[in-house]
């Protein structure tokens, strides 16, 4: 049986398919309940009740929303580039899904435990901008186009400082493999020694996922809904799912890079691996929602200033300091 799954092509294919399903089905359910959690958390912060009609405590609300999306009509504007218009949401959604291939949920629980896992994640997240920019251009609408341009500039800006944060984590680990990054934190989670980098990474993650307070690409007060103005029904739902899956992905990356992945605090209860991982991801997601309820939206020039004039010098400085400290105290890994 084992040799069938590991040694034949068809067996490997079935195995990979089953692994992908085992990850993606819980992920999509997670996405559905993240939308529910968002509305409930926002409601609690704003002293409202939130969805409470469909099902007990409104628990069936995500499925009602999904059903509504499926039943609606997909409208393609007359002046739109049909092929690209339909390709953009699919691209956004599939990029948000394939990034999960390298995320280790527990020791050895990754679909592909590749050597350059962190670079893969960085590459996939830098491709995410194409879904948005193609959607904006293919819609042939000025609001969508403005949203796409804003988003392209924003995502490229924040990626630079994010790259430096990744490099300073890699300096402490000495490997690009995600499992190695988690295992390197068995004594202390990187959020303590690299605290400023942790903050820079989390804020950049907010900007990468176009979440509030950096949700200018969809700023509904100026440009209606930004790049997805013209989208309806399933095409809109794919953008929506992609955005929330990206939020979970960014929380997963924060967990792996800074919060010790599946390791429990002070090494307690190591057998609960995946549960620790999910708990930490939920914590990060709660902070995403908390930030949304608390901060007003940035103005565009302030957003660019924060990225280029504050985060970039700060992350460069901290990278140099990290390298110097590792060198001086002889803490360099693999030395």
């Amino acid at each position: 049986m084992q040799s069938f799954f590991y040694d034949t092509y068809i067996g490997l294919l079935i195995l990979t398919f089953a692994e992908a399903l085992a990850l993606l089905v819980p992920l999509l359910i997670g996405v559905a309940y993240l939308t529910y959690a968002e509305r409930k958390v926002l409601a609690a912060i704003q002293l409202r009740k939130g969805p409470n009609v469909v099902g007990p405590f409104g628990l069936l609300q995500p499925f009602a929303d999904a059903l509504k999306m499926i039943m609606k009509e997909t409208i393609i504007p007359a002046g739109a580039n049909r092929l690209l218009f339909l390709m953009a949401p699919m691209l956004t959604f599939s990029l948000a899904m394939i990034a999960w291939a390298v995320i280790p949920v527990n020791a050895g629980w990754a679909i592909a435990d590749i050597n350059v896992g962190i670079l893969y994640l960085f590459a996939i997240s830098s491709l995410g901008v194409y879904g948005i920019i193609i959607a904006g251009w293919a819609s042939n609408s000025k609001y969508a186009f403005l949203g796409a341009l804003r988003s392209a500039a924003q995502m490229v800006s924040y990626e630079v400082s994010m790259g430096f944060v990744l490099v300073s984590v890699l300096l402490c680990v000495g490997s690009l493999n995600l499992t190695d990054i988690v295992l390197a934190q068995h004594r202390v989670w990187f959020c303590l020694p690299l605290f400023p980098m942790f903050i820079v990474f989390f804020v950049s993650a907010l900007a990468e996922t176009n979440r509030s307070p950096f949700d200018l690409p969809e700023g509904e007060s100026e440009i209606v809904a930004g790049f997805f103005v013209e989208y309806s029904a399933m095409a809109f739902a794919l953008f929506f799912l992609g955005e929330y899956a990206n939020m979970i992905l960014m929380s997963g990356m924060t967990t792996i890079l800074f919060l010790g992945g599946w390791l429990g605090p002070f090494g307690i209860l190591p057998q609960l691996g995946p549960l620790w991982f999910i708990l930490k991801v939920c914590f990060c997601l709660f902070v995403f929602l908390w930030v949304r309820a608390t901060f007003p939206r940035y103005r565009y020039d302030q957003l660019m200033r924060l990225g280029w004039k504050v985060f970039l010098p700060l992350s460069l400085l901290w990278l140099t300091l990290t390298a110097a400290a590792l060198m001086v105290f002889g803490w360099l890994p693999n030395a």
Binding site: Y9, L84, I114, N115, V116, L119, Y120, F122, A123, S126, L127, V129, Y130, I133, I134, W137, F145, A148, L149, A152, A153, M155, V156, E159, L176, D301, Q302, R305
Partner: protein, 224 residues
């Protein structure tokens, strides 16, 4: 077998999309085909076992350079009729430049010789027991450190040059001074007033001061 099929499929897509970059009528489609060809080149690197180079190609070219490309091309207002009308006129010049480049390429490639140890090295490009990334780093930061630093300085100079050329203090745009704003204290901005019941704002004298007229915007003089 699978690697072979993947190699041929990716190579065909790479060549086809490279051809479409030059031949598509819509410049945005050209850039999208360029991105597709970058992506397939990255897959070819992966098949060759150079995973670091493959991902760096995606991050740098697809994730950054091509985004800016697409950004600029989308914003350009291109008149296709005018573009095509110039084709006949520029054909001789373009053909001459192309021919000269082609002849030079033939000269260079004609005198090309593979290093004698290349056929042996081809079978083990990376040292054994070391990951691809580590092998690349060892080579780059030891034997080729001077070239590496020189390339870095070259890029830095180009970057500073671009900033110097484009940065000028435009009088037409207003900027926010974040420092001036965060330096403000409560005493400067807020005044607490005890208001007697029934008194209007005129009697107490807390009318809002008239806003200062903005500075007149100066004309920007180009040249000279």
């Amino acid at each position: 077998m699978i690697a072979n099929i993947a190699f041929y499929v990716c190579s065909i897509i790479l060549l086809a999309s490279a051809a479409l970059v030059v031949s598509s009528r819509n410049p945005v489609h050209s850039v999208l085909f360029l991105i597709l060809s970058f992506f397939n080149a990255a897959v070819l690197f992966l098949i060759a076992g150079a995973e670091f180079l493959a991902l760096i190609l995606v991050i740098v070219y697809v994730g950054a350079v091509a985004v800016l490309f697409l950004f600029v091309v989308m914003m350009l207002d291109i008149d296709f009729a005018e573009l095509r009308s110039g084709f006949q006129r520029y054909l001789p010049v373009g053909a001459t430049v192309g021919a000269v480049l082609f002849v030079e390429l033939v000269f260079v490639l004609g005198g090309w010789e593979f290093a004698p140890q290349a056929p042996v090295l081809r079978f083990s490009p990376a040292p054994a027991n070391v990951s691809n990334t580590a092998a690349l780093g060892r080579l780059l930061y030891t034997d080729y450190i001077f070239l590496f630093q020189a390339a870095g300085i070259l890029l830095l100079v180009a970057m500073i040059g671009a900033i110097v050329l484009t940065l000028r203090d435009r009088k037409t745009s207003r900027h926010q001074s974040i420092r001036a704003q965060t330096d403000r204290t409560v005493a400067e901005t807020l005044e607490l007033v005890t208001v007697t019941v029934g008194a209007g704002v005129k009697e107490i004298g807390i009318l809002r001061p008239k806003p200062v007229d903005p500075e007149p915007v100066e004309e920007v003089h180009h040249g000279n």
